[in-house]
């Protein structure tokens, strides 16, 4: 575009004038609509990166690369008017990009890699044997804050604020540590779901090749709630000792979070709320002693938060040397776990064919982009400050005259996220994929050589 053309301007380009910049940002009212999305998919959505990710190195020139791999991955698009298109597949980066730009989906879901191209699955159904079947799929997790409604009083349902969001943060810490230290996974992507939770994508080759039973086993390893119709959050920590995973989670993350943050931010032991915690203690004499202390509602002289003081009293009573029953001593941990321990959606993780929303989608209800979360600094993540569609469009316009095609995103609030995605996740992943492909190839070559040796 020449300077003359720029200055003449098109209708939808605003004048690059510092005085007008604020006005420009306000020019895009908050919202979510096909026009905004069109620009988003045109200028910001990282098509090429998604393609590279989903190819897991198979888009290279190495002879061992599987050229059909990307084409066997299922995508599903949810269009305007809730029209739902499943079993979409694409054979190249440009096909993917064009497909998205063309259909402008409100939501993109990613499914498994199948044994054959999903869009051709019906052709294979005739033979009777199960030819059309998932062969690879990331290990995924979905944590939703609406599952914590009995652990938070500030919000409920789809609402999130900075008082209850930290519940998500500690869930990320607990699960992420376990995935790396216990299960030995390395290529893990955490993503903000756009409104009220987080998703996790474990992309190691080993993880992608897990079968349903193994996925269920991992989900069960993480499961603590015994799903009672009475109390969904009933945690039962039986046994004279806890598994090292639970101990580590408690000591490193959960206990301090509960005592230093949650107790006060949710006023868990306030007059109206302490009864719920007392109900978790199976000893009448202890609960009535505590109730007695607390019903006397004088504020503590030290000026300390009443929740903190009461918690100290509770712990003291439960953990004193006098208490012999192991169930009593364990109560403190049970209370902490029941409020803070991660609550996963089991069904999402257990089945290879479960679809999950793609990162970098925009959430239709909030307009927020599903950006990656860095687990190492997840404490700093602020869901109320995640870039929205309208904000980004405003930023594009501001940047409009200086930025060239591809690098627009770098001039917006998306820049940080995409750079993180590329540098901390995608590059190490692709390096490892390349090594894997080359490695297994040379093994095969060696085997072939050996079998020729008489």
């Amino acid at each position: 575009m020449t300077k003359e053309e720029e200055q003449n301007g098109r209708d939808d380009m605003l004048i690059d004038d510092p005085e007008h910049q604020n006005a420009q940002l306000d020019a895009f009212p908050d919202g979510f609509n096909p026009n905004y999305l069109k620009v988003y998919y045109g200028r910001l959505f990282p098509h090429a990166d998604m393609f590279k990710w989903m190819s897991y190195g198979n888009d290279g020139k190495h002879p061992a690369c599987d050229q059909s791999y990307f084409g066997r991955r299922e995508f599903s698009f949810t269009l305007d008017n809730d029209i739902y298109l499943r079993f979409q597949s694409f054979n190249s980066a440009s096909e993917l990009e064009n497909g998205i730009k063309d259909k402008c989906p409100f939501k993109i879901d990613i499914g498994p890699v199948y044994s054959v191209d999903p869009s051709k699955r019906l052709a294979y159904a005739q033979s009777g044997d199960n030819i059309f079947t998932p062969v690879e799929r990331e290990l995924v997790f979905d944590i939703d804050i609406s599952d914590y409604d009995d652990a938070r009083y500030c919000c409920s349902g789809a609402d999130v604020c900075l008082d209850c969001w930290p519940l998500m943060t500690i869930a990320v810490k607990v699960i992420d540590t376990a995935l790396r230290d216990d299960f030995g996974f390395n290529h893990i992507l955490w993503v903000y779901s756009g409104r009220r939770g987080v998703h996790c994508w474990v992309c190691d080759g080993k993880a992608r090749r897990l079968n349903n039973e193994q996925r269920a086993a991992i989900a069960d390893y993480f499961r603590l709630y015994k799903g009672n119709s009475n109390s969904k959050s009933k945690v039962s920590l039986l046994g004279p000792a806890l598994h090292p995973f639970l101990v580590r989670s408690y000591v490193d993350v959960l206990r301090d979070f509960f005592e230093e943050k949650l107790l006060c931010s949710q006023q868990l032991l306030s007059d109206e709320r302490y009864e719920k915690i007392l109900e978790m203690i199976p000893d009448e004499s202890i609960t009535s002693e505590l109730r007695g202390k607390w019903q006397d509602s004088r504020r503590p002289a030290s000026g300390k938060d009443v929740n903190v003081v009461r918690w100290e009293q509770l712990k003291h009573l439960l953990q004193s040397g006098k208490q012999k029953a192991p169930g009593i001593r364990r109560c403190v941990e049970e209370i902490v776990f029941s409020f803070t321990y991660p609550r996963l959606d089991m069904e999402v993780s257990k089945h290879m064919n479960h679809l999950l929303k793609a990162p970098f989608c925009v959430h239709p209800k909030t307009g927020r982009v599903c950006v990656p979360i860095n687990p190492a600094i997840c404490d700093e993540f602020d869901p109320t400050n995640v870039p929205t569609l309208s904000k980004l469009l405003g930023e594009i316009n501001t940047a409009g005259l200086q930025a060239e095609g591809d690098k627009v995103w770098d001039r917006t609030s998306m820049g940080k996220s995409i750079r993180y995605f590329r540098e901390s996740f995608l590059q190490p992943l692709l390096k490892s994929c390349k090594e894997e492909i080359e490695g297994s190839h040379s093994v095969k070559v060696q085997q072939a050589k050996n079998s020729l040796n008489w």
Partner: protein, 462 residues
């Protein structure tokens, strides 16, 4: 596997010297010649073991009890006069029963479940050398944890052991390091310590990851066997193996009640008394219905009639009994004309003179009573309401009643009957009820023993 009628001695199934494991994995059919008699006999012996294991499981026996049960059953039934033939009997009987139990989804499920249980408990009784041999045979990539590694992990391993009330790890014990994907059961229940993708498995947990391999292999094998059976074997063997195979899946394996034995005869004088105190529910129901309606349809006449025969009711008494009832409904003449023949037929006095055997539980459970019928197994066909009423009438306490109903609902009809027996008589019936005449004779024995010990006599009731 070749089946011959000759008296040839079967040769060993193992060509190789690798006989470390006493527990075969049944990977491939044995390549030996089997005598036809052995074919059937070995299968029957194994089937008895499997049936008793099935009973044990349904009764909720704990693992220790199951281990003992399996050990006892195996020793009692799977012996062979020649020690070297024991393993052949094991393998042959397994493969014969595969033919028997591959034929429907339900049969396959049952066989898979019980054979897996059998394998599990036999495995538990074996040494760690055998365990390692099996792991190798299954291609499971395990490593033995070195002493140095062990010291580093000891704290964590102890924590895990304590968390699941398992014996604490000691430095002379064995731990295996396997990729966590190999032991999903143990990972799911947090019974192992995992680190960097490896699970540290104690010796006594090894069975956990062998079992799924065994099970999935057998499951696939059964499907394949079914295909071969339907497409080829059944037709090929229709004069030789097929009749044996088809009979085996519904066979009754208990004592023969066609000849009423020691407990002597049933006399008409006692019959109401005996019906009230010692009949199983199915016969009690038929009996009471007969007394009330003075009639029973064919299925009921057969089931009750043969039962009474097995209980020692003589033909003349039987004729008198049925006539006394039926003549109240249809008249003496019609009885003689239409029903007497059937009774004599049951006793082998008419037609081809077959002395019919009283029906076993299995046969009764499989029968399908229609409208106006009262035969079949009440635990299967009665509504919960009716079952509760009927059992109450028999004197089953309300506590035991719930257990019985539970078993009936979960389709364990014979167990429901066994629990009824135990509730009514206050004594246990370990072998489980398999035949109404068994219920009767056991009841009578128990009542006789009680009578002798308490010195009370039966009151004579009309």
């Amino acid at each position: 596997m070749e089946v011959v009628r000759s008296q040839k001695k079967p040769s060993s199934a193992f060509a190789s010297a690798d006989v470390v494991s006493n527990i075969p994995l049944y990977r491939s059919p044995p390549t030996l010649e089997v005598r036809l008699e052995d074919f059937e006999r070995f299968a029957v012996d194994r089937l008895l073991v499997l049936r008793r294991i099935s009973d044990g499981l349904a009764r909720g026996k704990k693992p220790d009890e199951m281990e003992k049960l399996v050990n006892d059953l195996w020793k009692a039934n799977m012996r062979h006069p020649q020690a070297s033939e024991v393993i052949n009997k094991d393998i042959i009987s397994h493969f014969v029963l595969r033919l028997v139990y591959c034929r429907t989804e339900e049969l396959r499920k049952w066989f898979l479940s019980i054979e897996t249980t059998l394998f599990r408990y036999r495995f538990r009784l074996e040494s760690s050398d055998v365990h390692r041999a099996l792991m190798t045979e299954l291609g499971i990539p395990y490593k033995v944890v070195t002493n140095a590694e062990f010291e580093g992990l000891k704290d964590k391993l102890t924590q895990v052991a304590r968390s699941v009330s398992q014996p604490l790890p000691t430095s002379d014990g064995t731990y295996y390091k396997v990729p966590f994907e190999e032991v999903p059961e143990l990972v799911a229940s947090r019974r192992v310590f995992i680190q960097k993708g490896y699970a540290y498995v104690a010796l006594n947990q090894v069975v956990s990851f062998i079992i799924p391999h065994f099970r999935s292999h057998l499951s696939k094998a059964l499907v394949l066997t079914n295909r071969k059976w339907t497409s080829m074997i059944r037709e090929q063997e229709k004069d030789r193996l097929t009749p044996i195979v088809e009979a085996l899946s519904t066979s009754y394996l208990g004592p023969d009640y066609s000849q009423a034995k020691e407990l002597g005869e049933m006399s008409l004088k006692d019959i109401d008394q005996v019906a009230r105190t010692a009949f199983p529910l199915c016969m009690r129901h038929l009996f009471d219905t007969l007394r009330e309606d003075h009639h029973l349809k064919h299925g009921g006449r057969m089931q009750l009639g043969l039962f009474l025969k097995g209980a020692g009711l003589k033909l003349d008494d039987a004729l008198a009994f049925w006539k006394a009832e039926f003549s109240q409904k249809v008249g003496a003449e019609r009885f003689d004309k239409e029903y007497a023949y059937g009774i004599r037929h049951n006793y082998g006095k008419e037609g081809k003179r077959t002395d019919y055997t009283p029906y076993s539980c299995q046969k009764i459970i499989l029968s399908t009573p229609g409208v106006g019928d009262h035969h079949g197994c009440p635990y299967r066909h009665f509504s919960e309401e009716n079952l509760r009423a009927a059992l109450g009438k028999m004197g089953v306490s309300s506590r035991a009643l719930d257990d019985v109903i539970e078993k009936a609902k979960t389709k364990h009809y014979q167990l429901a009957c066994t629990l009824t027996y135990e509730a009514v008589h206050g004594s246990s019936c370990d072998a489980g009820i398999n035949h109404p005449n068994q219920y009767l004779s056991d009841s009578q024995k128990t009542l006789e023993a009680k009578k002798l010990s308490t010195q009370t006599s039966f009151t004579d009731v009309q």
